[in-house]
């Protein structure tokens, strides 16, 4: 461990807070919402990798790999949804989509 675990956790907490701010502030814009989710997932990955390094077990890296796989699935599905919504209403503002039927 090159730096103490607390400092890596501090960095991860800062990144998670920034992602949370992005999600909460830009909640009317789908693209920025997804970017905020990406930032938060990256912070979680950083915690897993740091813990894996701290305790010398490879399990944390395995979970980081699974987060990567989950993120790629989530992003592909979410962006397909964005394209679908844009084709129907010609906008990506979340506030425009408040009805279940069309």
């Amino acid at each position: 461990m090159i730096v103490p675990l607390e400092q890596v956790l501090l960095l991860a907490g800062l990144l998670f807070g920034l992602g949370l701010i992005c999600v909460l502030v830009w909640r009317s814009n789908v693209i920025m919402l997804l970017i905020g989710i990406e930032i938060m997932l990256n912070a979680a990955m950083l915690v897993f990798v740091a813990a894996s390094n701290h305790w010398g077990a490879a399990d944390g890296q395995v979970f980081a790999l699974m987060i990567i796989a989950m993120t790629s699935a989530e992003v592909s599905l979410a962006l397909a949804l964005v394209v679908y919504l844009h084709r129907r209403r010609n906008t990506v503002a979340v506030d425009e989509f408040r009805e279940l039927h069309d």
Binding site: E6, V25, A58
Partner: protein
Amino acid sequence: MNAAQLLFYLLATVTVLATLFAITEKHPVHAIVYLVTSFFALAAIFFLLAAPLIAIFEVIIYAGAVMVLFMFVIMMLDLGRPEQVSRPGLLHWLPAITLSATILAALATLLEVRTGSSATLHQIGVKTFCVTLFRGYGLAIEIISLQLLFAVVGALYLGRRRRS
């Protein structure tokens, strides 16, 4: 402070600053480019934390595939027009500021109760990683692959052209 520590602090600064610029940027394409910078710095941090495989995947999948997919969708739907984006109002900032103040308070208590960390250097090679992955988490790999398949099917279903 040795070179690796100095490098970690530099990369951490680059990551936080690039993320900060990304989330305050009005232009979506600029935000994506800032985020790619942040992910490259984070990949270097992963390399410093003795996880070279995760660092490589971060560069290939996050910075290479996911961000390019974002860029592709922004350009295809012509969303990169900052004059159409409305700035979030002050009311939108209130819950964000409250929750991040809570997170900052939690981090402050974390730094208060610092424990002495072990100075041993654990190196996890690719072989150890793969043995753990395929011996211990075989079922998880199957579930993840099923999830990727479902995502592909769902994206194909959502993206098809309706004939009306």
